[in-house]
Amino acid sequence: MATNVIMPQMGESIAEGTITKWMKKVGERIDRDEPLFEISTDKVDAEIPSPAGGVLTQILVKENETVAVNTVVAVIDGEGAALAAPAASAVAAPKPDVAPSAALPTPSPAAVSSALPAGAPSVQIPEGGEEEIRTSPLVRRIAREHNVDLIQVKGTGLGGRVSKKDILDFIEQRGATPAAAPPPAVSAAPTAPPAVTFTGAAQSVPMTPMRRQIAEHMVTSLRTSAHVYTVVEVEMTRVVAARERFKDEFERRNGIKLTYTAFFVRACVEAIKEFPIINSSVEGTNIIYKRDVNIGLAVALENGLIVPVIKRADEKNFLGIARAVQDFADRARSKRLSVDDVQGGTFTITNPGSFGGLFGLPIINQPQVAILGVGAIEKRPVVRDDAIAIRHMVYLSVSYDHRVIDGAVAEKFMAKIKTILENWDEAVL
């Protein structure tokens, strides 16, 4: 039965040894405890007796070679250092004060075991919350248990935090109140910014990295593009009707919500196809037309924003768009958007209406040349056939770069969107 001969550890801090002399050659017999080889270490030189009797079948480390403690240097009566431990005499790990495992012999060099002993207490990692809302683990748990969307809960804690009392109050009051118009698009409503504690007349608070980026981007964009704005009013009757009629079945069939955002994205994609200049960027004196229509959707975050991009929106149908919208909404809220998700946009849609704004005048998202702002969808009195009618209306605004887009083009682009929305007939399901 083969026995591995190992480089011993002569001293607690010794990690290696050098073979200075082999007293036997391969093929020679040796008795147990008979001197087999000599070593030299930092602390001492020593003669090493053989751990077993038999024939020296392999010498694996030559004279003057230095190897780590516990390396197999020779084999008696057998083949291969790959064999497991020599019978009976198990060798412990080389640094007992570092490697807790002394159970099994290891033929490999001084590997410090980092494994915890089996009886070590296990690490408990609690499941994390998903909300971007400022709150606590307890509140998140209560929200989960009661199916509460924390966006809807008013926070009275520090900095607008949703406290335990807040959510318990909310659950108590929640009842027959039907949900208002569904929260538009993908905006995760941010809470109030954290309250500032004043120690003087003014309090300096450093910007977060996201804030710095946004600040930089915004002023650069204004410096770069020749911003011009135009606003149109769109009647949303058909869209609202389509949504109302189909939203339940849509959700049931597809497992995702039917939001207004999907309608706007589809309309933009069609309009962009007719006016490709909208889908371009400027490089010096060149206009770079982009083949793919990648629609970015601005999502408000607490203290910032992020713009995930629906890639090749021109190749997606309504359902595909709706899915992408929902996916971004979920992942933006739970902070699982990747770098790839926010790159490559060619056109952006933002939603100043989500907080009730009539319309907005957004800043172009560089290096794009136009951005659409969607206002709040509201019932307003309008004139139809010379009479006052109450219709669902929305203001759409476009900020465009007059370096490459002229007013006429912009207005026709908007007219196209208006036409699509007001005459909606695309199958939703």
């Binding site: 609690p126 683990p137 998140r140 748990r141 935090r161 406290s163």
Partner: protein
């Protein structure tokens, strides 16, 4: 029942154990003829004799070592440290000899090392320390710190009857300042169990020693403001009562960890990690620590007052946490 001070309760506990078990003996400086620097052992030499109440030279290492030797021979020694600050002189014997002996070769080491600790008496850096964490960090030892007279008696008995080395932290500030009706009959307070001293709903204050009284004072004041504090008295630091700590943390959702010991490496850190690990989903606010700062205990009254936590500081922390 008898109305006893915290100190008298300890004396009664030791006395009763001495009567009950002839293998119990006492060792320490000035404990015999003088009755102990704080008079905890007054009357015991007269009652139990020189063989069982031994006045030693000043040699904490030898005293603890001799106690260990006597324990190996079947006795149950109770060693007094005149001030727990001086326990450092016997550190090697405690952590290397006593704590590891059973683990290494099997026999029991039933010794108790007891003494006054804590600040608030203008004692300065060497008569005021709370050095319990040196020993809480040493597996093989047990560490207890009673806050009431009832517990002081029950725990000294438990410590004497325990087969392991027990470090028994008495709080000198409490020695004569608290009195309680103590049952005459034999009773024991188990090591390793905490207790809720005051029930509450808004914030759980978890503490031990003299600070238990501080917490109760603050709780009374805050109740007038509509803030309800639950006060947990740990009683034992090693082992400590995880269940009681977690139950209160979960119940209130907000926790303040309070101790007179300095901040870094104090018991509060250990409990904060436990609560964050096992009660994360029940927390409605950050875990807050109210402790002494990381300095030696200063002498001059304004310095010591700044150093020590008190009811006002606790109340402020509680109001802030409540508003979170």
């Amino acid at each position: 029942m008898a109305l006893l001070t915290y100190l008298e309760a300890i004396r009664h506990g030791i006395w009763e154990e001495m009567e009950r078990d002839p293998s119990v003996l006492l060792m320490g400086e000035d404990i015999g003829a003088y009755g102990g620097a704080f008079k905890v052992t007054a009357g015991m030499l007269e009652k139990f004799g020189e063989a069982r109440v031994i006045d030693t030279p000043i040699c904490e290492s030898a005293i603890v070592g001799a106690a260990i030797g006597a324990a190996l021979m079947g006795m149950r020694p109770v060693v007094e440290m005149q001030f727990m600050d001086f326990i450092a002189s016997g550190f090697d014997q405690i952590v290397n000899m006593a704590a590891k002996l059973h683990y290494r070769w099997g026999p029991a080491v039933p010794i108790v090392i007891r003494g006054p600790s804590g600040a608030g008496v203008h004692g300065g850096p060497y008569h005021s320390q709370s050095n319990e964490m040196w020993f809480v960090h040493t597996p093989g030892l047990k560490v207890v710190a009673p806050a009431t007279a009832y517990d002081a008696k029950g725990l000294i008995k438990a410590a004497i009857r325990d087969d392991n080395p027990v470090i028994f932290y008495e709080h000198k500030f409490l020695y004569r300042r608290i009195k309680e009706e103590i049952p005459e009959q034999d009773y024991v307070v188990p090591i390793g169990k905490g207790v809720v001293r005051r029930e509450g709903t808004d914030i759980a204050v978890i503490t031990y020693g003299a600070m238990v009284w501080t917490a109760l004072d603050a709780a009374r004041e805050l109740e007038k403001e509509g803030l309800s504090l639950e006060v947990v008295d740990l009683r034992s630091l090693l082992p400590y009562d995880e269940e009681t700590v977690l139950a209160s943390a979960r119940k209130c959702g907000k926790v303040i960890l309070l101790h007179e010991d300095t901040r870094t490496g104090g018991m509060a850190g250990e409990l904060a990690a436990l609560i964050a690990e096992k009660a994360f989903e029940d927390l409605d606010g950050p875990i807050v620590r109210v402790t002494a700062p990381d300095t030696p205990v200063p002498f001059a009254p304004p310095l010591e007052e700044y150093f020590l936590p008190n009811a006002a500081k606790l109340a402020e922390a509680a109001r802030k946490l409540a508003a979170y």
